[in-house]
């Protein structure tokens, strides 16, 4: 099979999955399927599937709106209705989209939620977001599962028990009530088994950046790779197939000694290997990415791709402990890690993937990521003596993406990296 054909296959598989989901959502009136709005971090995909519900991810809708240049209008709409300029723009984009008819990325109307499943993982804004949605959709059932934070860098048995108790006494009964489907533990176990498989594959995929040149970009392309596992397909045979396929495509790239694929074709020369902390900007995603690949910078690891689950430290969903493992999954997402854990994880990435630098993309409206990033950066700089770079943008608010500002800052940063490399060469 040719290289191009292989590449296409994983993309086609992903496209089919996503289109299928949006088709199903467009047809709920006919099929009677129930709709569950939920969030990516701590998403209980397998449980939602157990009740034959369809998931909707408001964050994903927001970022897709941004990529289609619609978020600016939605945000303004929300701001006209008392939403502050200074809060998470995902929320405003979602609320604005709802106010303008809730037309989703595929151009069809997204159905109203039957249930708002709030797994509250790693971010307070989720709670405020669903409090807001509950007022807009008064008939929806709201299910809250409070995910304890890994404040002491650990998941204690008490924390897991708290999650399990909530699942048993609150989440499952409410999901049964809304869906009319009785909870079937064996069905859940089947999904969890496949989840663990998909998690094995995605871990291997992100680990391929150990190669030089790295065959993938673990941030800009990485956000596509995490799509299926994060938006409701974890636990499906389709996701396993997708990741297997993707892995074999990447293996082929390694065999051929190729670098990552960019929107403008293959990256020619890998000059710098970076680890990036923080979500990307979505409104100017392509331009943002281009600044990096034009400079020959490839991202070998990023915290953002761990936002829907940290799998590279060995944790997996476990069908033998279904509810416990759902709880642990929620507690183990990146933004639910405390700051020292985040620092350790990113330091490990810098070492394991032999990064030349560490860049923070600080998102104006996301405190869950941004508050503390400067402290993390200092610590990583001190600990590893790695050059650190800092840029600022926003997720989906086009007003806060300044191309020239970011480009200037990055250019100076890359100059610094170049000088350092030169010095290292001379010393060697």
């Amino acid at each position: 099979m040719s290289k191009e054909a292989i590449k296409e296959k994983s993309m086609i598989l992903q496209k089919e999955m996503v289109e299928g989901l949006f088709n199903d959502l467009a047809n709920v009136e006919k099929t009677g399927k129930k709709v569950c709005y939920t969030f990516v971090p701590g998403n209980l995909s397998e449980l939602i599937r157990t009740f034959d519900m369809l998931p909707v991810y408001p964050e994903i809708n927001a970022l897709q709106s941004a990529m289609r240049k619609k978020s600016g209008g939605y945000i303004k709409e929300a701001e006209r209705n008392a939403h502050s300029e200074d809060v998470c723009t995902y929320v405003k984009c979602d609320v604005g989209m709802m106010m303008k008819g809730n037309i989703g990325p595929t151009g069809t109307k997204i159905p109203e939620p039957d249930v708002l499943l709030l797994s509250y993982t790693g971010c307070f804004t989720f709670m405020k977001w669903f409090e807001t949605l509950k007022r807009e959709y008064p008939n929806a059932e709201v299910v809250m599962i409070h995910t304890p934070y890994q404040e002491n860098a650990e998941i204690t048995p008490e924390m897991t028990q708290y999650m399990v108790n909530q699942l048993k006494e609150e989440v499952i009964p409410k999901m049964e009530k809304v869906s009319g489907v009785k909870f079937d533990e064996n069905k859940l176990k089947g999904f969890l088994k496949l989840s663990a498989e998909a998690e094995d594959w995605i871990t291997k995929i992100f680990d391929t950046t150990k190669h030089k040149p790295s065959p993938i970009d673990a941030y800009f392309a990485g956000v596509y790779y995490i799509g299926p596992i994060n938006i409701g397909f974890r636990g499906t045979p389709e996701a396993v197939e997708y990741y297997k396929e993707l892995y074999s495509e990447i293996q082929e790239r390694i065999r051929l000694g190729l670098g990552p694929v960019t929107p403008e074709g293959e990256m020619k020369e890998e000059k710098y290997r970076l680890v990036v902390e923080g979500p990307p900007n979505w409104t100017s995603f392509r331009e943002f990415w281009k600044i990096f690949y034009d400079m020959g910078a490839v991202i070998v690891a990023s915290s953002y791709t761990k936002v829907g689950g940290v799998y590279d430290m060995g944790w997996r969903h476990d069908p033998e402990r279904p509810l416990e493992s759902l709880g642990e999954y929620c507690m183990n997402c990146y933004t639910n890690l405390n700051i020292p854990q985040r620092i350790d994880l990113l330091s490990k990435c810098i070492k394991d993937y032999q990064a030349d630098g560490y860049v923070t993309n600080s998102i104006k409206s996301c405190n869950s990521f941004s508050a503390g990033q400067l402290g993390m950066m200092r610590e990583i700089e001190d600990r590893l003596e790695v050059p650190v770079g800092f840029i600022e943008s926003d997720l989906v608010d086009p007003r806060y993406f300044s191309y020239s500002n970011i480009k200037n800052r990055l250019e100076s940063y890359f100059q610094m990296l170049a000088q350092r490399k030169m010095l290292e060469k001379q010393e060697a």
């Binding site: 008392a82 998470c88 807001t132 006494e169 405390n338 503390g372 990033q373």
Partner: protein
């Protein structure tokens, strides 16, 4: 008994002593004493008190601390309080503190707990995860485990595990404390001129940095004074302040609102000291359970507590009604997510209920309020014009 002016002056000094002199002196007086700092909003101080500790509110430096180092830790679009708490810590104001508790109210303070851990400030740093599940057998049990965790940390320092009696005794002291603070608010509801909101603020805030026994004495005296008919009523509207529960406005701003034509008859400035409504049962043999039940069933609404089963807009509307207030002033710290994300919920509901409000943002270190004062003045004038319209509260 001291006169009211003297008491208020003492409280003023205590409330803004950023060296926490009284707390440090208290600790030095006896072996085994520990100081535990806590950030907004609420922490069950009873637990620390019973364990031989002094809970001390760390509410930022206000406009009295110049921020230099703290700014290097926080981007411009993050509220001010974490940088001022960092400044206090880096400038060694908190050096004698044995531990720090960061209640779970937002991602900024949550992550600040991690920065404190990273810097190894104090002997322990605990991010206190308050339950967002309000079933006593689930969230309540988890909350008790969180309190036990704090007690374990303190025990590691002073070897003390409080007895049931000690916990109940502490609960009793804080019950009394809350009762007297509520008494002050109740008196002010009728006679707000007897004590300005600025004075109330100083009196309540002083209680967060001194032993509760001493604060109770102060409150007793204040209560006696304000039972007397003192001061002169002025032509002002009555308002409730909402949204300033974490980062604190500069005192000048607290004053400016009353100067601009409003009596503040309720507020959430020092919400932590008033979080539990009514008493906690001080007579059980399961005091932690009593504290937990009180939090679950008797908490004031807050932007950090999941409210779907008990919507906050109706709760605030009830406060407005109970206090006979003419309107609400939403005062949010700039970039404060919990407060700002609640704004549309409150404002949409109040538009429907016919409750009048204005909203503005502040920062703890800004002490120029000309614009805000004008806005409040205009609000007060407009309400006076519509004085006879009743407030509608429906649910």
């Amino acid at each position: 008994m001291k006169n009211l002016k003297q008491i208020i002056n003492d409280c003023k000094e205590l409330a803004f002593d950023l060296n926490f002199t009284r707390a440090k002196k208290w600790k030095a007086e006896k072996d085994g004493r520990v100081i535990v700092g806590y950030t907004p909003i609420y922490f069950p101080r009873e637990v620390i008190h019973a364990a031989g500790g002094l809970p001390v509110g760390v509410f930022g430096g206000g406009d009295r601390k110049q921020i230099i180092k703290g700014d290097a830790y926080y981007q411009s679009y993050i509220c001010h309080i974490p940088r001022s708490i960092m400044e206090l810590a880096l400038d060694k104001h908190l050096d004698d503190f044995d531990g720090f508790i960061f209640p779970s109210i937002c991602d900024v303070l949550r992550n600040l707990s991690g920065i404190f851990k990273q810097h190894k400030f104090g002997k322990f740093v605990k991010y206190m995860d308050f339950p967002q599940n309000f079933l006593p057998q689930i969230g309540g049990v988890f909350y008790q485990q969180e309190m036990e965790h704090v007690m374990k940390y303190i025990k590691e320092i002073n070897g003390k595990t409080p007895t049931v009696e000690e916990l109940n005794h502490s609960i009793g002291l804080y019950n009394k404390n809350r009762q007297m603070i509520e008494f002050i608010y109740d008196i002010r509801q009728e006679f707000p001129w007897r004590l300005s909101i600025e004075d109330v603020y100083h009196i309540v805030r002083a209680g967060t940095v001194i032993p509760v026994e001493e604060h109770n004495e102060i409150l007793e005296q204040v209560c006696i004074h304000i039972k007397e008919s003192i001061g002169e009523p002025q032509d002002k509207i009555k308002v409730v302040i909402s949204g300033a529960f974490c980062e604190q406005p500069a005192v000048g701003l607290i004053r400016a609102i009353e100067e601009a034509g409003c009596y503040v008859v309720d507020d959430d400035y020092m919400l932590g000291s008033r979080m539990i409504l009514g008493d906690i049962d001080a007579t059980t043999n399961k005091p932690l359970e009593a504290i937990s039940n009180a939090y679950i069933k008797q908490s004031q609404y807050s932007s950090s507590i999941y409210d779907v089963d008990n919507p906050k807009e109706y709760r605030l509307a009830k406060i407005v009604e109970k206090r006979g207030a003419n309107g609400v002033i939403f005062a949010s710290a700039s970039f404060c997510d919990p407060s700002l994300l609640d704004a549309p919920i409150f404002q949409n509901a109040f538009n429907k209920m016919g409750i009048r409000y204005i909203a503005f943002q502040f920062s703890e270190n800004i002490n120029q309020f000309k614009v805000i004062k004008e806005q409040v003045g205009a609000f007060s004038d407009s309400i006076k014009l519509w004085e006879d319209e009743p407030v509608l509260v429906t649910k």
